[in-house]
């Protein structure tokens, strides 16, 4: 298990918060909460060691295409594939937009 931290530029703080997923095999839990202006922080606790570069890549790819609100995101990962990570993050952002 290891704990990783990431930060990306962002806009105004998000409204509301959201939770998606579950810490089950091949899945992950994502908690999204409003962050400080201009900053998107992500803390990842993952069962897979040595995966920092892979997470960095997933986040960069996702956040390149869209401008995001300021968020603090916590992830508890139980061996999810990049595809599942992306899906859960999209679900979380989608829920936030309805919050």
């Amino acid at each position: 298990m290891e704990t990783l931290s990431f930060e990306f530029p962002a806009g105004q703080p998000a409204q509301g918060r959201a939770l998606v997923g579950c810490v089950g095999s091949g899945d992950l839990e994502v908690l999204l909460e409003p962050g400080s202006v201009g900053s998107l922080t992500i803390q990842v606790v993952t069962s897979v060691n040595g995966s920092a570069a892979r997470w960095q890549q997933v986040f960069e790819r996702m956040f390149r295409a869209q401008s995001l609100p300021a968020l603090n995101i916590s992830i508890h990962d139980f061996g999810a594939t990049p595809g599942v990570v992306r899906l859960r993050l999209e679900q979380g952002l989608e829920e936030l937009s309805h919050a």
Binding site: E29, V45, S47
Partner: protein, 285 residues
């Protein structure tokens, strides 16, 4: 197919496919669910991380308050996907503490009732003795609350209900199961480990289901209702049982009847589903 059937199928909404939080929300009156110690409070297991195991923000237990049939209700749902629904210190204390407060409500004149949605293998072995202690307290709290209001447990599946929590289920005023439910004290793997494969083959799924599956438990009178995997009928069944009130004599108080039945069992041969149904047929007190 008749229109009515089509309408019914369209309206059907699987309960077992829902996560713990959705289950809890779905069974309470619309928009009445309020979660206590929600995941954003991040009250997580103090024991898992130091063993290199990723925790979950709610420790796998959802505790909510709200209304059911217009009455104050506590609902507890265990998330079977996280660590097999196993109970550690935090999740166990959430359940025990909430039941204790529901009993206190009743002593103070608020008729809070409780529904337990059980998907659990029992004690979380990484927190062994604290899980076991919490389960003893959950059991104590069920017996205490049961004096005032029915405590109803539902085992929906797919995890089922095992270990100390199967004993807790046996203490409830009413117990509901679906076809996807299993109920037993010992998990198949543990029995095989302790007693050998001839006694219990943990890989023989049809055999295990024939003895511990929801349908068999209902046919043997060890649970009170056998419900379809459909949200609204489950909710209606809960409401009907709460309206019925406390049972005349809890199943867990029927020692005279069970001892008499067990004395009639031929224990020189192995048990099978039909023998259990035969032994437990007939009027229960």
């Amino acid at each position: 197919m008749h229109d009515a059937n089509i309408q019914r199928l369209l309206a059907q909404r699987s309960f077992t496919e829902l996560g713990a939080r959705q289950r809890a929300r779905a069974l309470l009156d619309a928009d009445s669910f309020r979660e206590l110690i929600d995941p954003f409070a991040r009250v997580m297991s103090p024991w898992l991380a130091r063993q290199g195991i990723v925790p979950q923000a709610d420790d796998g237990v959802v505790v909510g308050k709200g209304l059911l049939d217009g009455q104050p209700a506590l609902i507890v749902a265990i998330e079977g996907t996280f660590q097999g629904g196993s109970l550690g210190e935090v999740g166990g204390a959430k359940i025990a503490g909430a039941l204790e407060l529901a009993a206190e409500d009743n002593r103070n004149g608020t008729p809070t009732r409780a529904v337990l949605l059980l998907e659990t293998g029992g004690v979380r072995l990484q927190e062994a003795n604290l899980g076991l202690a919490a389960i003893a307290e959950i059991q104590a709290a069920i017996v205490e609350l049961r004096q005032y209001q029915p405590v109803i447990a539902l085992i929906a599946g797919p995890v089922g209900c095992f270990g100390g929590m199967s004993i807790a289920a046996g203490l409830c005023s009413y117990l509901l199961v679906t076809r996807e439910a299993r109920l037993g004290l010992n998990g198949p793997q543990v029995i095989e480990q302790e007693a050998g494969v001839d006694e219990y083959d943990s890989r023989d799924r049809p055999f295990i289901w024939s003895l511990t599956g929801g349908e068999q438990r209902y046919a043997s009178g060890l649970v009170d209702a056998y419900v379809a995997d459909d949200v609204e009928p489950i909710r209606q069944q809960l409401i009907a049982l709460f309206r019925q009130g406390k049972p005349a004599l809890q199943r867990s108080r029927q020692h005279a009847w069970f001892l008499e039945r067990l004395q009639g069992v031929d224990t020189s041969i192995q048990a099978d589903a039909a023998a259990v149904r035969r032994a437990y047929q007939g009027e229960q007190p």
